[in-house]
Subunit: 158 residues, 2 copies
């Protein structure tokens, strides 16, 4: 199934997806989608019609789901994933709203600022990242263009 066979990436931003499609595209389970909806992590639009309630995910929602899935797949806890998503929504609202149109190389990293510190999301800085690694401290890069490209690919062939 080619969801966007005759659709440019610009018009993709206005497309909406069902829970089944969203799960397929982002590789999240239906159960995860439901859980995150209840916890207000990623809340889709709900349409009440005569036929019942329909749930629709925007491309921005899919991006948020992909980010959660990516961080979870790395072994990070739910709390860290959620706070990273919240942070990016706060500092990069334009990017989060239009994840496919955003072509600037916006890069962040989860950075362990001190020996006994947890991970903090800060702007990616290669020099700082390498110094951290050389001091035995953790770095988890979060490159927005990579996340956007991944989602774009998944949207092209579902």
């Amino acid at each position: 199934m080619y969801l966007i066979s005759f659709c440019t990436m610009d018009c993709m931003e206005e497309k909406f997806f069902t829970s089944t499609e969203a799960a397929k595209i982002t590789q999240c389970s239906r159960r995860q989608l439901q859980y995150w909806r209840e916890r207000k992590v990623v809340v889709p639009t709900v349409n009440t019609t005569g036929k019942g309630r329909n749930v629709y995910y925007s491309v921005s929602d899919l991006w948020a789901l992909s980010l959660m899935q990516y961080l979870l797949s790395m072994g990070l806890s739910f709390e860290v994933c959620q706070s990273t998503l919240d942070f990016l929504r706060l500092v990069e609202p334009v990017l989060v709203e239009n994840p496919l149109n955003y072509k600037a190389k916006k890069r962040f990293m989860l950075w362990q600022s001190g020996e006994n510190e947890g991970l903090r999301c800060v702007e990616f800085n290669e020099e700082k990242a390498i110094t951290a690694i050389q001091n035995g401290q953790a770095i988890i890069p979060l490159w927005m263009e990579t996340l956007g490209e991944r989602l774009e690919k998944k949207l092209q062939v579902v």
Copy 2:
């Protein structure tokens, strides 16, 4: 309270600690200790006496608790922490048994081998780590001498 005021680090290896002491030294909660004991992640020695059941943690157990606590504080999930501990017990049994006597610079890292891969524990390699970071992939260094030194410090002043 100076637990080892008249004790060298060599004899420390044979010392045992109560749950309360273990929690204090490793900064784990009593609840975590209990949970990990039930899940057989870190199982202390149990002494049944006329006065009841006493639980004792060895220095090796404290090291395992410290490792769990360190990885959890970084935001990693319980599963990743446990599998990392299991891996180190498998490949470095001598180190895990005698964490304070082990002075060799044994270094590992949690390494994201591919774009969609989770973290794997491998030997630390600075060049590989830097390349990973430059490609936007995660690195969480795990240096055994650092973990050992941290525990040693905590044992000196509790």
